[in-house]
Symmetry: C7
Subunit: 75 residues, 7 copies
């Protein structure tokens, strides 16, 4: 099953921009530079969004995977 | 017991459309392209539903398995 | 202790109808077709119950084990 | 330490009647027929209690261990 | 580090009386007869306390470790 | 990475006084006598603080690591 | 995948100042001196922030990784 793991979807978009919804309903967006099997993510140019508007800019951000609800990934 | 694991039900419907209920009661629907033993799922043509109507479209979505309550799977 | 594991109670009723109470207090009923040691379950003819009445029908359902409070199993 | 594990207290009362308090404060009582190291329990003649009165009867019940607060065990 | 594990503090007081605070803020007291590395505990002469008064007596009690906040241990 | 693990910060202050903030926002203070990799801690001369005042004294206390938010450690 | 793990982002900034957002929405800032794969962190010159102002100073602080939402890391 390992060839088909969903985490491969993330690895395939390293350096692309992804959107992340956290369990606390916050939305983040940034360029994915690192990821691991727990869905821990390193983003650059990270920003928090509210109603699709930039609410805050964070530069480089490490998101802890266990807070993540879903990740929107460009096809 | 491994031949009879529920995750096999998912593997059997790769490329089919499934519905997912999250713990926060949101409903998602999409075409299953990847899954793993934690029930992490990659969906394409993913959409969020409310009262069976499309509320939002996400394209490709990676859902983190630990948020999932149940998955409705076509027979 | 492995011969006496509670999960064996489930394996003994494959293809029988069971009832499941989730932590969010919902009740489901269906025919058990698969189970694993995490209590992940695949049901067919799955339905959600409210006050012992059918509230919704789902066909085939994969329930994630960590949401389960208890399972009522025919003797 | 394994000879002294608390789970041995359960194994010593197989076929005896125990009471279980869940995290959601419900109380169950029944005859213990199976247990494992996660405190998953199979009970027969299982009933739910409220103020020491029978509130519901379930026959055979599989309780998922991670919901359990404590188990009262006859000495 | 294993020689210095906090669980050794518990093993050193087997057969002594300890007090336990649960995450739901209840307090229990009893004689420790078994413990394991998850802090699962078997107590005899177990009682629940409220404002230092006995609120209920349980005889032998198996407390699931993951509910425990802290344990007061005689020196 | 093991030489640089944060738990080493704790091991370096065995027998010193530390302050602990729990997830339920309570504050404890005491002399650290044991610790393990889960941040389970044994304290002696343990006390609970409220607004920097002693609220309760517990003697020897075993704190379960998964309740801990942070630990203030003397340099 | 190990060469690309997000935790490497942290190891690369040892001795630099980072900001941490906890799940309870508190913000901390300090100089990172230790980290591990669970995102447990040791900080020196640690302070808690509120609206970007210093609310409290803690000296050396060990933050338990499972409370962390995200970490802002200088590039």
């Amino acid at each position: 099953m390992s060839q088909n793991m969903p985490i491969k979807t993330l690895e395939a978009v390293l350096n692309d921009i992804i959107s992340i919804k956290l369990k606390d309903q916050r939305t983040f967006r940034g360029r994915l530079t690192r990821c691991d099997m727990y869905m821990n993510l390193t983003l650059t140019d990270a920003e928090e969004l509210e109603s699709n508007e930039t609410k805050a800019k964070y530069g480089q951000l490490l998101l802890r995977g266990n807070n993540i609800l879903w990740i929107q990934i460009p096809t």
